[in-house]
């Protein structure tokens, strides 16, 4: 079993890396580039924001990223309505020349959670307009099913709220989604704080992990990118290799027969 052949597909495209990485919050553009390269990610997320007249805007970041020759996944971060999402997605499509879109439709400004109801509506609208939708959603199985019904070919349930770094708040819910939706590419998006969280997500059978703050906000983002690269590989191997189940009682690893010093009672 060669890991180089352990590829996966997203909307018909094939990828080797299972780590998707964001481009925000790095201490410098150079650190961002180094972190992305080190991460091995083949897909990066970007955003769209107002540019003042005469300004160069985020063009510089986009220029840097473009040179990496990676797949771009623009997001609709900050949108609170279907209308905003649809307009922003179209703007992103033109800017980045891709019909991929990370659908992010916030339902509450406190936990920044995706709106479970409007996200489904927005997914339908976007798909009707030809988008390939990567929906950021909660860990609700029924919402996931509705998104599939709407035509999404990948799902991105959260681990925990964006930027909290709390990891997998509800592994049972994520496991349920995995079990009930076999064959659907599943990516844990948001809430990942440490490499072990990413590994745990992959061990549940998820297909990928998308994160940003955990790398960009580390003291050493490049080293942390290496950590997450390895963690995703580790968790993936853990899942593919068919791990042992947790047991209630201890069992020796070293053989117990042939232990010296033991004498039969009647000797």
């Amino acid at each position: 079993m060669d890991s180089s052949t352990d590829t996966w597909q997203l909307y018909g495209e094939t990828f080797n890396s299972r780590l998707l990485i964001g481009t925000a919050q790095y201490p410098s553009p150079q650190t961002m580039l180094n972190a992305i390269k080190t991460s091995g990610a083949e897909i990066v997320t970007l955003g769209v924001r107002r540019q003042s007249p005469g300004e160069a805007g985020g063009e510089s970041v986009w220029k840097l990223i473009r040179e990496l020759n990676l797949s771009i996944l623009p997001n609709t971060a900050g949108c609170h309505s279907v209308r905003e999402v649809v307009t922003l997605a179209q703007m992103a499509r033109e800017l980045f020349a891709t019909d991929w879109i990370k659908l992010e439709l916030i339902g509450d400004d406190y936990n920044l959670q995706p709106d479970p109801i409007e996200t489904v509506v927005a997914a339908k609208e976007l798909i009707a307009r030809g988008f390939k939708v990567f929906p950021y959603c909660t860990d609700d199985l029924v919402v996931c099913q509705r998104l599939l019904d709407a035509g999404c070919e990948v799902l991105m349930p959260w681990g925990s709220p964006i930027g909290t770094g709390r990891g997998l708040m509800n592994p049972y819910a994520l496991q349920t989604i995995r079990d009930r939706l076999p064959g659907v590419p599943l990516i844990v998006d948001a809430g990942i704080g440490r490499p072990s969280h990413a590994a745990a997500a992959m061990e549940l059978g998820f297909d990928g992990v998308l994160l940003n703050t955990a790398v960009a906000g580390a003291a050493d983002p490049v080293l942390m990118a290496a950590g997450f690269r390895d963690a995703v590989a580790a968790g993936r191997a853990g899942w593919r290799a068919g791990g042992i189940s947790a047991r209630q009682t201890a069992t020796a690893s070293t053989p117990t027969i042939g232990m010296p010093f033991w004498q039969q009672a009647d000797n």
């Binding site: 481009t23 540019q51 007249p53 805007g57 800017l95």
Partner: protein, 70 residues
């Protein structure tokens, strides 16, 4: 198409006199078309439409470019 109108660009008020064609307005504001995307009144307007699109008084323009994102 040469009335003086008032528009909002990214939330700021601008007075436009002369051509109200979107492309002309963008150029006067020194935007590079290849680096931006535009919505008028929260509806997307594609690049191919810039040349024919006449702005109206009180139009709200959103002009965006790529930024870092998560």
């Amino acid at each position: 198409m040469t009335n003086e109108i008032e528009i909002f660009v990214n939330g700021k008020r601008y007075t436009v006199s002369g051509s109200v064609v979107l492309l002309d307005v963008l150029r006067r504001l020194e935007y590079k078309e290849t680096q931006i995307a535009v919505a008028v009144n929260e509806e997307f307007v594609s690049r191919s439409q810039y040349q024919q699109w006449a702005l109206a008084d009180a139009d709200r323009l959103d002009i965006v470019s790529a930024v870092e994102g998560g």
